[in-house]
Amino acid sequence: MRYVAQRLAQFVVVFVVVTFIVLASTRIGSTDPVQDLAGGQVDEARRAQVLEDYPYLDKPLPIQYGYWITDLVKGDWGYSYYQSQSVMDMFKQRAPATFFIVFWSIVMGLLIALPVGVYSAYRRDRLFDRASSVTTFGFISMPSLVVSVALLYLVAARYDMFPTVGGSDYVAPWDNPYEHFKNFFLPSLAIGIGIGGVWSRLLRADMALTLQSDFVTLAKAKGLSPGRILWIHALRASILSLITSVALQLGSLISGAIIAEQFFGPRGLGDRLVFAIQQNDLLTLQAIGVVIVAVVVVANLAVDLMYAVVDPRIRAARALS
């Protein structure tokens, strides 16, 4: 219990520090946040309106942070004068596409990692293991930019089926599964390949250790089928660090999705983010930053707590390292 409380406290501190960093970095080189928020040409009426809506903008940073985070928690995410749209509406419109790219790339990564990792651990040092080890090393070393270019050139440009830049909009999978597949297959694959390589190697290493442990020998002696031993008993014992890695990689997956969606279409948070950076659209930037940070931090916390619940030995080891 003490451990949980400690983790929670640390979680709050980290969250505050990170969101403050996000807020502070939008203010670098900016002398007048009111003008940044009002957008482009400063027209006195609009300036006055911005000041009225966000009266805290000329206060020192920590105070601004206080006001902003209170608004955020209350559900008032602010208004983007550039987009003439509230930030919350922007999220409702754009976030699903980014979410699905991340989701499908995790699925894609696991579809690669589970069979490859398990089978190559089972057949350690045989042909399949050697081949998959070389291949996954290649996958790991392929920057997602390079994978995206390759997919763009080899697949998207040749087959009309798949959309390229800006050629598609978000379609919910329950509305039209086929369209959804078309729009999301390539971006998820572009991210999934790299992450699948990392996860296969991770799983293979853990699995190889598990397969040497006594309970596996016992299971074999009892006459359980190899499939059952591998996929049920051994996999359950070795999957913990894979789950951790899924959680730890979430941040980079979201970043990857934001890049990939600009290659292959489904317009998500990405182009809004790029635009917001160019215009220094404060509230949009801050909101996108905070959401991603929140996802990452919560995922990390969940993993830590899960460890604490699942295995007290690991808890002790992690507390040490």
């Binding site: 980290v14 090393f137 990392v198 941040g251």
Partner: protein, 316 residues
Amino acid sequence: MSTTLTADDATRAAAPEPVTEKRTRRRRIPGVGVVLGATWLLALIVLAFTADYLPFIRLYDRPVRGAAAAAFGPGNDFWFGSDSLGRDVFARCIYGAKTSLTISVASILVGTIVGGTLGVIAGYYRGWVDRVISIFTDALLALPAIIIASLLVGRFDVLAASDADFLGFGFSWLTRTWSVTIVFSLLSIAPVARIVRAQTLSISQREYVLAARSLGAGTRRVLVREIVPNVVPALTAVIFTGIAILLAAEGGLAFLGYSVPDPPSWGSLIADSREQIEEAWWMTIFPCVMLFLTVLSFNLVGDRVARRFDIREAAL
């Protein structure tokens, strides 16, 4: 995977195997891959940093006379083809290597020095020092690297263009090369600190450290003579993997439009020529291949170092 700074994962993915006799023997001889990788890196570094003096490398920003009308495919005149302005893609790739490598190597060195120091301090002193440093590194690790990097580089551009000054210095020196390097250095502190801290924790409990201390060695001596030398191998592996990760991250940053445009880094080359990929594939594919091979080589060398020193034991 590639877009972010998770050297942690990369070293963990390079897992050691339970040692069998055959394996120990094989471990002493570097594999073909590592040798090829190291050769590629050496060749690339030599080419990139002597490019100004080599006769067969053209200027990256000047069209070759008589070739400005169209993009030519790869051939005898242009090894990697030419772009639509008549510039030599091979030369641009080599100068791109210079930009990309300078940025990643410089950043990882800063990250290693700062992060390494923090890690050793946190791991050795523990207690509240450790807790403060850990919160700092956790916070840095929670930042979405590419996004925060593009935001910061964008803001630094504004800062450089403004006439703001700090302690009497302007910010006009803050070119893209500098800002990308600064941002990448900041982002590489935390992963390094985390790994070094874990190493230090495990090393400081070894018998030789206890022995040194009971012989009366002071804190500084223990740190400098016992701990740091034993952290260095792990650090070497982290440096190589880190460079690979930063090279990839630079690609992502370039794609969002926030990397070094002149001389263009590999990422910028790829991002800028991507739209012409159907008419002139060589403009995009060659930088991609260079980037891939280089990342692969750094990973191979890093993996080799990690295996050599059996680093995994303390990585998590």
